[in-house]
């Protein structure tokens, strides 16, 4: 019998990855956050409130849906979709923001900040801030403000201030830089809700724990519906929160393969991609050590992906660890392939996926036919495609 998985260590290390690589001013706030998180994690009242919010506000549990027609068409494994697209606000991001918002409230913080790429995390943050009556500022790369304009409008309707970030590559990493700068300036009253399993400890572990509801439900639903565990899990990986949320409860179930799908953009061989696990190397960015896309001098290089939510040069440190230990496998899907996944799910099952999730769909199209008909794949449908209508229409030369 192998040992039970128990990561990270108390200073947030997943082997050589993770950690707390921050300037001195942020050291105290992240230690306070960690202490609060450790305390409330075991507090029955906190857990009850979180469960109630997840049930009545988010709409959980999300269904595990057997995509029968698509499975038949592909002629291999049975495909089950974990329907995070049906959550309130349209993606898995809200699982995490309701959790962190409850923490913010208990820590007496009056102001919420967040970074966002696709805008889904920004919307999910603005949503919980509106509900709690907290001031909310969202940082978003200027490039993403344009390609996800619908979500910008949603955030504004919800009462958030959206700050376009003009520095660097004007995408998700730069939004994260700017949010960190805000936090260091306003640490006393501000809670920073990071939207993925990145950042300094405790964020990667905390966000994972809030997202693990995806995998816990999926496991139970699979046992109920099929009577056994799945054979493979597939999820897209930007920072890696929906993927780790699905994977984590299965880590000790060694018969279950776990596959994370990175964005290959124009193709990994072109250098224009967002696939640090497949084509990067370890380094330190945004408070943790993980695989990064960087040049020989350690400067972070620009990423490319059709999906704003995957356009990030780093990845959660736990994925770096799962890759090195071989427990999970990481593959990549190009923009073109992702679009095929997008159309296939839309036409086969009447479900329009987010462009991020479409990467997981595209890989499933490759994987399913190689498996037997009685084998099971659970794919995380991390979000719905409404936010991407503008991008899709533009790509296909249609004016809305």
């Amino acid at each position: 019998m192998t040992e039970k998985y128990n990561m990270p260590d108390e200073r947030g290390h997943f082997g050589p990855y993770g950690g707390m690589f921050v300037g001195e001013t942020l050291m105290l706030p992240i230690q306070e956050l960690n202490a609060a998180y450790q305390q409330y994690l075991k507090d029955p009242e906190f857990i009850a409130e979180l469960d109630a919010d997840l049930t009545h506000y988010v709409g959980r549990p999300s269904p595990l849906y057997h995509a029968e027609r698509w499975s038949r068409e592909l002629g291999g494994a049975q495909i089950y979709l974990k329907r995070e697209d049906l959550n309130h606000t349209g993606a898995h991001k809200i699982n995490n923001t309701v959790g962190q918002a409850l923490l913010a409230k208990r820590m007496g913080k009056t102001r919420i900040i967040a970074e966002t790429g696709a805008g889904q995390h920004g919307v999910a943050t603005a949503t919980v801030a509106a509900r709690l009556g907290l001031e909310c500022v969202i940082y978003m790369g200027a490039v993403d403000v344009v390609r996800q304009s619908l979500n910008v409008y949603r955030m504004k309707l919800l009462g958030a201030t959206v700050v376009p970030v003009e520095s660097g590559s004007k995408t998700l990493k730069d939004a994260l830089n700017e949010a960190l700068r805000d936090w260091v300036t306003n640490v006393d009253n501000t809670f920073y809700i990071i939207g993925t399993v990145a950042g300094p400890h405790p964020y990667p572990a905390m966000v994972r724990d809030f997202q693990a509801i995806i995998g816990r439900e999926a496991k139970q639903q699979c046992l109920n519906q099929v009577g056994r565990l799945p054979d493979a899990l597939v999820a897209c990986v930007g920072g890696g929160s929906n993927a780790i949320g699905l994977f984590y409860p299965f880590i000790d179930d060694h018969s279950v393969k776990m596959i994370g799908v990175e964005a290959a953009g124009d193709g990994v061989e072109t250098g224009r991609h967002s696939a640090p696990l497949c084509a990067g190397r370890p380094g330190v960015l945004h408070g943790n050590r993980t695989y990064l896309m960087e040049d020989d001098d350690g400067e972070i290089i620009e990423t490319h992906s059709i999906s704003a939510g995957l356009d990030y040069p780093g990845v959660g440190p736990e994925h770096a660890w799962l890759k090195d230990t071989g427990r999970a496998e990481y593959v990549n899907i190009t923009d073109t392939e992702a679009l095929e996944g997008f159309h296939a799910l839309t036409r086969m099952e009447g479900i329009i996926p987010a462009l991020e999730s479409s990467h997981a769909m595209a890989y499933t199209m490759k994987l399913a036919p190689t498996m037997k008909k009685d084998e099971i794949i659970i794919v995380c449908l991390s979000g719905r495609g409404d936010k991407d209508m503008q991008t899709m229409a533009q790509r296909e030369g249609i004016e809305l």
Partner: protein
């Protein structure tokens, strides 16, 4: 004795405080940095903090962010900054040079290769913004084994316990970041700085330099009366940015400001 320790000791003997400019290496172009370093020494500075540009300067405000971007446009790198420091040492044996930057370029080079290269370049100190003592063990022991001082930051919210931790891990001097924020932000509050320095001084014997928010000669004088050194960065880099078409003029304005600070601090 390290060059930094000797510098602070000599200053203390004459009752003077260290004037420490920060510039980003390679800004506005790679040829500008070496002559600027020598000119600053002539203006009377005691230690030079040489910024290593990084693509994602999370702790910096807009002025130093743009300086990094200008330097990176010329492909300035850790390797090339070390080459500039090597050149500087050929004609200046006494002014300590401290590299300041983020940890990823050092990770990319490898800690041991970096420590060896820094030793060859006769670097005196290394200040890595996002490498707190908790994560710095390997780097610190490699540097100390080569008589290079690891410099750590202290902040307004640093506790006694953390100050003591820096006292053990660090050497050369400690750098007190006088306000919560990024470089180039606002103005420091003198009463707050004074109170915090008292707390810091009861927990360390190392010299303490104060930075963030020092913009003019008057502030430099006030801050000098509280700590052992004054760091000025964004105010100098603003001169470069205001004179991008005329770097010689930027150099003159930087020298003028440093001379004014030196005089105000010494009188």
């Amino acid at each position: 004795m390290s060059r930094l320790a000797a510098t602070f000791e000599a200053l203390a003997k004459t009752g003077r405080k260290a004037l420490i400019p920060f510039i980003t290496a390679g800004d506005p172009n790679p040829e500008f940095t070496l002559p600027l370093m020598h000119a600053m020494v002539e203006a009377g500075v005691d230690v030079i903090e040489l910024g290593v540009p990084f693509s994602d300067p999370m702790a910096d405000g807009p002025v130093i962010q743009r300086a990094s971007e200008r330097a990176l446009d010329y492909k300035m790198s850790l390797r090339r900054v070390l080459a500039i420091a090597t050149e500087f040492r050929k004609t200046n044996q006494q002014t300590p040079v401290v590299l300041m930057g983020y940890v990823n370029p050092i990770e990319a080079m490898g800690y041991e290769d970096f420590a060896n290269a820094a030793q060859r370049a006769e670097i005196d100190g290394v200040l890595t913004v996002d490498l707190p003592p908790e994560e710095a063990e390997e780097c610190v022991s490699l540097l100390k084994a080569r008589d290079i001082d690891p410099i750590f930051l202290l902040a307004p919210n640093s506790t006694d316990e953390r100050i003591k931790k820096m006292d053990v891990a660090g050497s050369g001097y400690l750098y007190y970041v006088s306000l919560k924020g990024v470089t180039g932000a606002g103005h420091l509050n003198v009463a707050d700085v004074e109170a915090k320095l008292k707390q810091i001084k009861t927990n360390t014997r190392l010299p303490v330099a104060v930075g963030f928010g020092v913009k003019d000669a008057q502030t430099a004088k006030t801050v000098a009366s509280l700590g052992d050194g004054v760091v000025v960065g964004s105010a100098l880099i603003s001169k470069i940015e205001a004179n991008l078409g005329d770097p010689e003029r930027a150099k003159r304005e930087i020298v003028d400001l440093l001379v004014a600070m030196r005089q105000a601090m010494d009188n």
